[in-house]
């Protein structure tokens, strides 16, 4: 007899969606807050996908936003330059979804390529090479005039809304969680724990490392595409090293290896970032002191140092909340 338990996470997610929608519809929440929530959700996708590479498989990747950039530019090019659609056009939504997926696939391909250096390089060196790759991707987009070069790709139609972003985030979490809590996930974890031993119990570590990069890149590409269609632009500076470090800070703050942690951290840090921006502006305006936006990043970097010095495991360590974790049948 099959037991059918309503998944806890699904319930929580539906509740979250309903609450936000209601608040917004009844004008208890303004568009600005919703915009921040949208951004937070996209950062959840970025953080969880980076966690798959760094936290679960133990491959130190510093160029994650490069993948997002690929997704942004590919999907943006398709919707803006090639198909020239907008939200009101019939079939526009379908083309948008396909473009986002195309962006994800393109990013996955790049991730696949970047996976190969990971086979020969460890730790520090891998970090530098992935950083370099991220910068190369950024430089390439900076130099392609067709997508706007240094000005960026402008005029991207605003297809991303709360519903779409929410569904994408939900699917990302479910897929990555299901992957991690399976034999394949354990294979990846074993690579993180002790790569040699993993190889010596029959795991094709090459396959799984490249797989981690590809899948992580795919979802980053999706996130990039969603971003581009939310902010209505894709610009090389959005996908550089510092941006990759911001996502890195999220997974470390939340707990490397914990999906729950990444979710919480993505929301917390996106809101914090926005709050800092407003707060600094407020202080600067009221006191008249020349306090620039750079202070936000100063605080961010201190936060990173603080986490590394005093609580490396972040908020959740490697634990998952019971909402996310699948209870195994005994």
């Amino acid at each position: 007899m099959a037991k059918f338990k309503l998944p806890k996470f699904l319930i929580a997610a539906v509740l979250f969606y309903a609450v936000i929608e209601l608040l917004y519809t009844f004008e208890l929440m303004n568009g600005y807050i919703l915009h921040i929530i949208n951004q937070s959700l996209i950062y959840v996708i970025l953080a969880v996908s980076l966690n798959l590479i760094n936290g679960i498989t133990g491959q130190f990747s510093l160029g994650h936003m490069g993948f997002a950039g690929v997704g942004a530019y590919v999907s943006g090019t398709l919707t803006t330059l090639i198909f020239k659609i907008n939200p009101s056009a019939p079939g526009g939504m379908l083309i948008f979804v396909l473009s986002i997926i195309a962006g994800g696939i393109a990013a996955a391909f790049i991730g696949f390529l970047i996976g190969f250096p990971s086979l020969r390089l460890k730790g520090d060196y891998l970090a530098i090479v992935t950083l370099g790759f991220g910068e190369i991707i950024r430089t390439i987009f900076n130099n392609i005039d067709y997508v706007g070069g240094p000005r960026g790709l402008l005029g991207i139609p605003k297809f991303s809304n709360f519903t779409i972003i929410f569904i994408a985030t939900f699917l990302t979490i479910i897929i990555i969680r299901n992957l991690i809590q399976s034999s394949h996930g354990r294979a990846m974890l074993s690579i993180r724990e002790n790569e040699l031993a993993s190889e010596l119990v029959g795991i094709d570590t090459t396959k799984y490392k490249v797989l981690a990069f590809s899948i992580g890149a795919f979802f980053a590409g999706i996130a990039g595409g969603l971003f581009a269609h939310l902010l209505q632009l894709a610009h090389p500076t959005q996908f550089g090293f510092i941006k990759s470090v911001e996502v890195l800070i999220m997974i470390y703050a939340g707990g490397v290896g914990s999906i729950t942690g990444s979710m919480i951290a993505a929301f917390a840090l996106t809101f914090l970032s926005e709050g800092l921006r407003l707060g600094i502006r407020f202080i600067a305006d009221t006191t008249g002191l020349p306090i620039g936006g750079e202070w936000r990043m100063v605080i961010y970097s201190l936060l990173l140092i603080f986490i590394m010095l005093f609580r490396t495991e972040g908020l959740m360590g490697t634990k998952e909340s019971r909402l996310i974790k699948i209870k195994e049948a005994d």
């Binding site: 520090d124 470090v245 470390y252 202070w295 990043m297 970097s301 010095l309």
Partner: protein, 334 residues
């Protein structure tokens, strides 16, 4: 790079390096084609000297604690700003005495670079010495970000470019095949002097021996009574000081400084150190000059390739000969 009409005046009293006795004046146009390669070699050696000073710090720190100090390029930036500040602070006291002023500025850059490096080590890296390597790497990223944004956020320093003052007026000499300025000579000479000094220190002095011991086997060194942390501290001090001088030289030679100026040179110097063999002092120097020349030639050919050549070198080294040109093969015991 100025090509065209040259008029050269050698200003005797202001030349620190003793170029005083050369007086060449020649007018005339010089064709680009005829001086292309020799000039590039000069430029490449010049920038290579600056890379060498930075690369030495990377390689020394990596050799002793196996850490890629992401923030190293920022010690270079701090050295530039420190010398800038020192110049304006002491300028009025030593008018006309360029020699003393130059010395003060040099000392300021070395002091600033070295002290900040030691602080970073003491506050951020030392606590994580025996934790997983990745934690230190990420912390180094954090320190780097902090230094860049902090300097950028300070109102008196600000994010924008500043012009570096002419501490020593630039003097150009046209040698036919290439144009050398006294800056080129200063850059190369200062780098050379410091490199020789470092080699003597590492080979002959007690500290140098201690540094080599700690690089090879920390535990054995500790058992021999060497204060590991003190040696590591000195290594950061020297490495940071060298980076600081490089910042001063760069500020003087390419006279714009800004808080993010350490990112690119830092990355390139790191790659140079890897090329030469990370952990090897002669390797860092060799790699730096190769990097400087390669970059100069590549940029002259095509600016996009010039941007990418450093990364291309990194990929090639890591795929073909990961231990670098002069590095030692290390085997992990399984």
């Amino acid at each position: 790079m100025s090509i065209g009409l040259f008029r050269i005046r050698a200003n005797l009293e202001h030349s620190v390096t003793g170029f005083a006795n050369i007086r060449i004046a020649r007018k005339g146009t010089v064709r680009m084609g005829s001086i292309f390669n020799a000039q590039q070699i000069v430029n490449g050696l010049q920038v290579g000297s600056i890379y060498a000073l930075i690369a030495l710090g990377y390689t020394m720190v990596y050799g002793i604690v196996r850490l890629i100090n992401f923030a190293h390029g920022d010690f270079y930036m701090i050295g530039a700003y420190a010398s800038y500040g020192a110049f304006f602070l002491f300028n009025s006291f030593f008018v006309g005495k360029t020699g003393i002023l130059a010395f003060i500025v040099l000392a300021a850059s070395m002091l600033a670079g070295g002290v900040i490096a030691m602080l970073a080590n003491q506050l951020a890296y030392k606590p994580l010495r025996y934790k997983p390597k990745l934690s230190s790497l990420i912390t180094a990223i954090g320190v780097s970000m902090f230094l860049e944004y902090f300097f950028s956020a300070l109102p008196m320093i600000g994010p924008s470019y500043r012009s570096f003052p002419d501490i020593i007026p630039k003097v150009e000499i046209n040698l036919g095949l290439a144009t050398i300025s006294n800056y080129v000579v200063i850059d190369i000479a200062v780098a050379a002097i410091l490199m020789v000094g470092l080699t003597i220190l590492v080979r002959k002095s007690v500290l140098g021996k201690a540094m080599r011991a700690v690089s090879q086997d920390k535990d054995a060194a500790r058992l021999m009574g060497i204060d590991i942390e003190k040696v590591i501290g000195y290594t950061f001090l020297i490495g940071g000081a060298f980076a600081g001088v490089a910042g001063l030289l760069a500020g003087m030679t390419y006279p714009r400084i800004f808080p993010y100026m350490g990112i690119q040179p830092g990355l390139k110097a790191f790659i140079a150190a890897v090329l030469g063999g990370i952990g090897s002092i002669p390797g860092a120097v060799l790699g730096a000059y190769i990097m400087g020349l390669a970059e100069t030639f590549a940029s002259a050919y095509n600016s996009l390739i010039g941007e990418g050549i450093a990364f291309a070198i990194l990929i090639l080294v890591l795929l073909i000969r990961p231990r670098g040109l002069l590095g030692e093969k290390t085997a992990d015991k399984i």
